[in-house]
């Protein structure tokens, strides 16, 4: 079984982002970038399945500018076998990402495609589902547990009401939740070894996919600031304030 893992380069989750003064976006110059956190869970799960002898190959793919390759390199350092980097500059909407991934799937013919359930930059939560639709494959989104069975996966999904379990036939798409597993850290020897693993370069423009923007970003602004609160010195004072000042209890 072959697993394709899609990873995205995003502003690191610890960075307090800042909005550009002209409202054209957020500041990314000299800002720490990392792999989108749930994409790390997707890689980890694929590698675990391989280590359990249920997969022969794990291929990591990313789409984006030159530096996006770092995310593939990181996936290789934690156990993916080889990488694919589809080069394209600028903001790419999830629909275009799904179309590019569809081309990669047609070429690679994986049995499973894993990715994070949501990217923490645009917070769209669309790509996996869109790819499933384009391929007409089953989808299991927001996965917190995956069991590989013969030609099937049993996936536990985190939903608003609790948990849901579905069985999906392979080939299929799974989007991963942060609770799916604990992504490992790459060891130094593995980071060195990863440098020798191949990364195939493709140009999005060669894939025959319409990646034009369908959504115009008119402006980006900061959220309204909350006015500064106060510290209370005791529980009694807190309850009194909630009762008589805020009038919420």
């Amino acid at each position: 079984m072959k697993i394709l893992v899609a990873v995205k380069r995003v502003v690191d989750y610890n960075v307090q982002i800042r909005v550009k003064e002209d409202g054209s976006g957020i500041i990314t110059d000299n800002v720490k970038m990392s792999t989108n956190p749930p994409d790390d869970n997707a890689t980890e799960e694929a590698v675990k399945i391989k280590e359990a002898g249920k997969s022969k190959e794990v291929v990591a793919v990313t789409i984006g500018e030159e530096k996006a390759q770092e995310t593939v390199r990181k996936a290789l350092a934690v156990g993916a076998d080889r990488g694919i980097h589809v080069k394209i500059d600028g903001i790419i909407e999830p629909l275009a990402v799904a179309k590019i991934l569809q081309k990669v799937v047609e070429k690679e013919k994986p049995d499973l495609v894993f990715m994070g359930k949501q990217a923490i930059d645009d917070d769209c939560n669309q790509t996996g589902q869109m790819l499933s639709a384009l391929l007409n494959w089953p989808q299991a989104t927001f996965a917190s547990k995956i069991e590989v069975k013969d030609k099937k996966l049993e996936v536990t999904r985190e939903i608003d009401e609790g948990l849901e379990t579905v069985e999906i036939n392979i080939p299929a798409i799974v989007t991963c939740d942060l609770r799916l597993n604990e992504p490992r850290y790459a060891s130094l020897p593995n980071i060195m070894k990863a440098k020798k693993k191949p990364i195939e370069q493709l140009n999005a423009s060669d894939l025959g996919v319409d990646t034009s923007s369908r959504i115009e970003q008119i402006k980006v602004e900061e959220p309204p600031k909350r006015k500064a609160g106060i510290k209370v010195s005791s529980v009694a004072e807190l309850v009194q304030k909630l009762k008589n000042e805020a009038k919420v209890i």
């Binding site: 989750y13 307090q16 982002i17 957020i26 749930p38 909407e93 999830p94 629909l95 275009a96 359930k117 949501q118 923490i120 645009d122 917070d123 939560n125 669309q126 589902q129 869109m130 790819l131 639709a133 989808q139 989104t141 985190e158 939903i159 608003d160 009401e161 609790g162 948990l163 379990t165 069985e167 999906i168 036939n169 299929a172 939740d177 942060l178 609770r179 369908r214 959504i215 115009e216 970003q217 008119i218 402006k219 980006v220 900061e222 959220p223 909350r226 609160g229 106060i230 510290k231 005791s234 529980v235 009694a236 807190l238 309850v239 304030k241 909630l242 009762k243 805020a246 919420v248 209890i249």
Partner: protein
């Protein structure tokens, strides 16, 4: 052209956020049609028809719609899409799972989780865990939009009498099988709609200690929330998680106990009207968004809190 609103329900009743989604849909266009897809969901269809903002209800029934599998739902919507300019649904796990499947099939770039309708093609939506807001304009002829329910009021739920039309079911997808749902039943208000929410974080130290929170929740008729750290540690189940990848809540009162306030948690609660933080670390970022901060050991503060509440003659419910 009209807006098609996909109702979320449990085959008997509408889920409460459907009413918020109807409000958002009506701000896009007056002509709101609502579709209910399910099995034995006549009651839900009837409830939809009673919403005064809904002009027509489309009711689709089949055995394979019982468990809301997106692969089965999407073709039904895609088949009807020609008649609509917009397809709208709540941005909760139901809508997040379903809408992109529809959008891709229609070759439309979806706009997720909007908090405001600026015009029929322009919307406001949070990005970067709500640390920025983007105003975006869709250039697609057909628009697929999911709405953040807590950013829209719920619509009137009675007085309407929209006609209910039956529509044909599509074939079953067949390669996705629903196995089971583990729904945690509770008598408490729902997290997403509760007037008061009290949440615990890693500082609670154990699931057992959440009893301290439960007793206060009982007193305030509050829903119980949690930070991702508390859910990851197994103190409480995932349906309680508030934050960027959990639920977004906007209660009148949000009480954060033993929660440091990572930006991912703040994303889910910082629009609350009044925020209280109880934390022994005076430098915790949660204090930066709190209206009332109490720097204290929660194991002392929570029993005192309950005691003080017991002294009050009246408590709002």
């Amino acid at each position: 052209m009209a807006v098609l609103l996909i109702a979320e329900h449990n085959n008997k009743e509408l889920r409460p956020f459907t009413l918020n989604a109807v409000t958002a849909a009506s701000q896009i266009d007056n002509e709101v049609h609502a579709i209910v897809i399910g099995q034995n969901c006549t009651e839900a269809a009837k409830s939809l028809s009673e919403l005064p903002l809904v002009k027509k209800v489309i009711h689709v029934e089949a055995v394979h719609y019982e468990n809301f599998v997106a692969e089965n739902f999407a073709p039904v919507i895609v088949k009807l899409a020609d008649n609509y300019s917009h397809i709208v649904c709540s941005a909760n796990t139901f809508g997040k799972n379903l809408m992109p499947r529809i959008a891709a099939a229609l070759d439309t770039s979806q706009i997720s989780d909007i908090t405001k309708v600026v015009s029929s093609d322009t919307f406001l939506r949070p990005i970067y865990a709500g640390n920025a807001f983007a105003t975006v304009k869709s250039k697609d002829a057909k628009k697929c939009v999911t709405i953040r329910p807590t950013s829209f009021d719920s619509c009137e739920s009675s007085g309407g009498s929209a006609p209910i039309e039956k529509a044909e079911a599509c074939e079953e997808f067949g390669r996705t099988k629903f196995i089971r749902r583990e729904e945690i039943k509770s008598d408490r208000p729902e997290l997403g709609t509760a007037r008061v929410v009290i949440s615990g974080g890693r500082g609670m130290q154990s699931g057992d200690n959440f009893k301290l929170i439960t007793s206060i929740a009982d007193k305030l008729n509050a829903a119980i929330g949690a930070s991702r750290a508390a859910v990851d540690a197994g103190y409480i189940s995932n349906d309680h998680q508030v934050g960027q990848t959990g639920k977004v809540v906007v209660p009148d009162l949000y009480i954060a106990v033993g929660i440091s306030g990572a930006i991912q948690h703040l994303a889910g609660m910082k629009e609350s009207k009044i925020i209280v933080a109880i934390n022994k670390d005076g430098e915790a970022p949660i204090f930066s968004v709190a209206d009332y901060g109490l720097e204290a050991d929660l194991f002392e503060a929570l029993p005192q809190f309950l005691e003080e509440l017991n002294k009050l003659n009246t408590i709002q419910k």
